[in-house]
């Protein structure tokens, strides 16, 4: 099945209570399948066909505060339209799970993949996970609910899939049974919710005397995510034999150059690295699977001995010294006292394809610079941009 269908199937198995969504390419298939499940009686849930993404997330937050298990899905402009509501989801501690079929932002209007949409809301207090393929996306949905609804976390979780490259890609998906799903993910047991039997105020007005502390609680919860996700993954691993960790690692043990990327490009890069290894080039790969919180410790385990890092960003940050992932990588290295050169490439905006051969070229460019003793170019390079 396609990644979108796999996600919808996982959401059904997760026995969600409320789905509030608005169609947008390339995520539409997810909500179409969910609509079918609800209309055919295969999933006992309320599907709120809202009139905008702003309302999709608003309805999700309200339903979540009522104690329901809630899912939505969006992309691009839809995520941008949700922007102000995303902060409520995290600050009001709503364990919503959202699939994001990453897509470029207008203008020019473009329906294809890049990560600009999610990067635009990266500071909204959401846990953000990148899937590299349909299998990961399917498995992460269960883990996302488990993580989000944990009393120590209570944060919304985004599961990112590259628009079209993943959303529409068809592959064989190993599924879990409904009973395994129900055991792994029993019905949500909210502790605080809207109910007349215990009247509570949600969304109060906080002034400078309290606002800071309330907001900081999101940071505290975020800090607890890496450990909690690892525990959840362990349980899931025992059930399925599948485990993804916070970063995907490929041939980093003896790597001199390590490439860092996120999403479906990881598979392409892996293929390129395999070929380079055959030629004796010591290249490795780190795939950012957990983006927020940024997996600082996991990354540091693998980069200490490399001579250079290549960070591939599928989003730009105009005017910034680095694109988003490179900013985090550089901060990670700096805090660890590592002065490793970082080559930062922005690539593939608006769905422009990147091939394994191109990844080879990128890696070779840096390898040759190192060999020749040339300094690694600073700032941001734009791969494949026509002059």
């Amino acid at each position: 099945m396609s990644t979108s269908e796999a996600i919808a199937y996982a959401v059904k198995q997760a026995n969600v209570d409320v789905i509030a969504a608005y169609p947008i390419t390339p995520q539409t298939i997810i909500v179409e399948r969910l609509s079918e499940y609800v209309h055919n009686g295969e999933l006992d849930a309320e599907y709120i066909a809202v009139e905008s993404e702003h309302s999709a997330m608003s309805a999700c937050v309200a339903a979540s505060l009522t104690g329901a298990r809630v899912f939505t899905s969006t992309a691009s402009q839809g995520l941008a339209l949700m922007h102000e509501v995303l902060y409520l989801a995290s600050s009001l501690r709503c364990p919503i799970v959202m699939a994001i079929a990453n897509r470029a932002l207008s203008a020019p209007i473009n329906i294809h993949c890049d990560h600009s949409d999610m990067m635009g809301s990266r500071d909204a207090g959401w846990v953000q996970i990148f899937a590299e393929n349909g299998q990961q996306a399917y498995d992460r949905i269960f883990q996302a609910f488990k993580l989000a609804e944990d009393e120590d976390i209570l944060l919304p979780v985004g599961v990112n899939i590259d628009g079209f490259f993943l959303s529409h890609a068809v592959e064989g998906i190993a599924t879990i049974s409904d009973s395994e799903a129900a055991t792994f993910l029993p019905p949500r047991k909210a502790k605080y919710y809207l109910d007349y039997s215990m009247p509570m105020t949600f969304g109060a007005f906080a002034l400078p005397d309290w606002y800071f502390e309330i907001k900081h609680q999101v940071v505290e919860a975020m800090d607890r995510v890496p450990k909690k996700l690892a525990e959840i993954e362990e349980t899931y691993y025992k059930m399925t034999g599948r485990k993804y960790d916070h970063v995907g690692v490929y041939k980093t043990e003896d790597a001199e150059v390590c490439l860092v990327c996120a999403g479906s490009s990881a598979a392409t890069a892996k293929f390129a690295i395999t070929r380079l290894r055959e030629k004796g080039i010591k290249a490795g790969l780190l795939s950012i699977r957990l983006f927020r919180p940024f997996p600082v410790e996991s990354i540091l385990l693998h980069v200490k001995d490399v001579k250079a890092l290549i960070v591939m960003d599928r989003a730009m940050s105009p005017g910034a010294p680095s694109a988003p992932i490179a900013q985090d990588i550089k901060a990670t290295l700096y805090d660890a006292g590592l002065n490793i050169p970082v080559a930062n490439f922005v690539y593939g905006l608006g769905g422009r394809d990147i091939s394994a051969a191109e990844f080879e070229s990128i890696i070779m460019k840096i390898v040759e610079s190192l060999k020749a003793g040339r300094p690694i170019e600073k700032g941001v390079m734009y791969w494949g941009l026509r002059a």
């Binding site: 209570d17 849930a45 702003h54 339903a63 949600f202 109060a204």
Partner: protein, 311 residues
């Protein structure tokens, strides 16, 4: 006739859903209207507020006025929040025996006429069971009296001041009720806290329907309309008695004026007691006054004809 019509004040609930000590201005029309609505509302109840004076004055963290479950999300999404709660309770009661609740969403005129109209329209179209109450003080009062789609023609606000060239707001008030009625919801009504019996029975009637309902209540604002804090109810009553604020309902498409005003007071009586509008009585503003009067009269006549159709 409504089954269980409230005839005396003793038939209302007490003030058990809100605590004293909120931070609204003395004489706040919105809070009076909200209080009356809550005293009428059936329970169990969940209240939603849009960002508004109501939200700001009732929940200064860590305090809250609300003794009923209450939620505020944003300025423009109170109707959507109500949708989410309603849908959640529906499925949770089905799957896990959660108790169903009545839901009332409150929004000001800014949050309803303007920034929130899309969310309101969506929620009404989808048919969620809840009451949306627009408490209308005819301007963005929470941000300091800026004009809204609800501000009447000629009114002075901080973004439609009485200047030497342009006098107050240059557009008529948006007819929100007609927009709401166009959604063919079971019940929509206007109300005024000056006519509490009319108001509370409209709340009860709204809650008798398994679908969305809408109550548009006038909420005189002492700060934005400029009248003495002791005059709120008097000003609201003048709005009704001059036919400026017709009290009517549209029940399953049938219009009915619930409080006929056979001998209306001149509109000037309503205008002269509030500084935002009293300049319309100056000779140089006669044209604006006439235009406002025409708006008020045409609306009343239209409502009368519509009521007669369904009588």
């Amino acid at each position: 006739m409504l089954v269980g019509e409230i005839k005396t004040i003793k038939e209302l609930y007490g003030l058990d859903l809100i605590a004293p000590g909120h931070r609204a201005c003395a004489g706040c029309g919105a809070l009076i209207a909200v209080r009356q609505i809550l005293m009428a509302s059936k329970r169990p109840l969940i209240v939603v507020s849009a960002t508004s004076c109501l939200e700001v004055t009732s929940t200064p963290y860590p305090q809250t006025m609300w003794k009923t479950p209450w939620v505020h999300l944003l300025f423009e999404n109170a109707a959507t929040a109500a949708s989410g709660i309603e849908a959640a309770l529906k499925v949770l009661s089905r799957k896990y025996n959660r108790q169903e609740h009545y839901i009332i969403a409150f929004g000001g005129d800014g949050g309803t006429f303007d920034i929130g109209i899309q969310a309101l329209s969506g929620a009404l179209e989808r048919g969620h069971r809840f009451i949306y109450v627009c408490y209308d003080n005819e301007a963005y009062m929470n941000t300091g009296i800026q004009r809204s789609g609800a501000t009447p023609l000629g009114a002075a606000t901080t973004t439609s001041p009485v200047g030497t060239k342009i006098v107050g707001k240059t557009q008529q008030k948006k007819d929100l009720m007609e927009i709401v009625v166009a959604h063919r919801i079971p019940y929509a009504a206007t109300a005024s806290p000056s006519h509490w019996k009319d108001l509370v029975n409209k709340v009860r009637k709204a809650q008798s329907y398994d679908g969305p309902s809408f109550i548009h209540v006038i909420a005189p604002c002492t700060r934005g309309w400029y009248f003495d804090t002791s005059e709120t109810i008097k000003v609201a009553r003048l709005a009704v008695e001059t036919r400026y604020w017709p009290l009517y309902e549209v029940e399953n498409g049938r219009y009915r004026i619930t409080h006929p005003v056979p001998n209306p007071k001149p509109l000037e009586e309503f205008l002269k007691v509030q500084r935002r509008l009293s300049h319309l009585l100056l000779p140089e503003n006669a044209e604006i006054l006439e235009s406002l009067k025409a708006y008020v009269n045409e609306r009343w006549e239209r409502l009368q004809k519509l009521s007669a159709c369904f009588a």
